[in-house]
Amino acid sequence: MIPLQFYLIVAAILFCLGLFGALARRNAVAILMGIELMLNAVNINLVAFWRYVKPAAPTMDLAGQIFALFVVTLAAAEAAIGLALIIAIYRSRDTVNVEDVDLMKW
């Protein structure tokens, strides 16, 4: 049986790669890609806990999977809105570089 910690470590690496992408990229779409990676890492954790950790109540023994489903849905909604914003910014400012979108900074 693969220990739970293996999954957690893989998820941690994935999360940190996503974090790096979200912090270090200039292109807004690339930042969103980093965020999606982080959400994926969270989902691995949820499903791993579902499998290995005792449920709080017998009726809730599917909670981990159902939460993962809701996270996927949220990720899709977030991507839809985020990318729509990026497209709108691109149309009005001709750039998707987050460093150049600084109109609200001052």
Binding site: V72, T73, A76, A79, A80, A84, I87, R91
Partner: protein
């Protein structure tokens, strides 16, 4: 898990090997005589190299319509994902399940109706 998905893993392996075999085989037997105009990007009746520099960039500005269709697609794709387990369990659930699903579908039909009324389902 392995007993059921072992064969899937083997098919996944085959999915990579199977296209690789003819590609490698044809690598051995096909001719290889490239020249400038063969390797040029295809254009109707024109030499691609004759184009001015800015026209050689093949990127085209796509219409936002593509994105809007993808949006509606994503919403419905997620809806389908929730419909499937409901459909499997339907026989064991009472009439309440049907009502709940009609509410769920109804909200999404609202979304479709919104897109329809705003003319987003038209490809203009």
């Amino acid at each position: 898990m392995l007993d059921r998905y072992g064969i899937v893993a083997i098919f996944a392996l085959l999915a990579v090997i199977f296209p690789a075999i003819p590609l490698l085989l044809s690598l051995v037997i096909r001719p290889k005589k490239p020249n400038q105009s063969k390797k040029a990007t295809y254009e109707c009746g024109l030499e691609f190299e004759d184009f001015p520099e800015e026209a050689q960039n093949v990127w085209v500005q796509f219409r936002v319509q593509y994105y809007l269709f993808a949006l509606i697609f994503v919403v419905f794709d997620i809806e389908v994902v929730y419909l499937y387990p409901w459909a499997v369990a339907y026989n064991t659930l009472g009439p309440f399940a049907l009502v709940e699903m009609i509410v769920f579908l109804g909200i999404l039909i609202l979304a479709l109706a919104y897109a329809w009324r705003n003319g987003l389902l038209e490809w203009t």
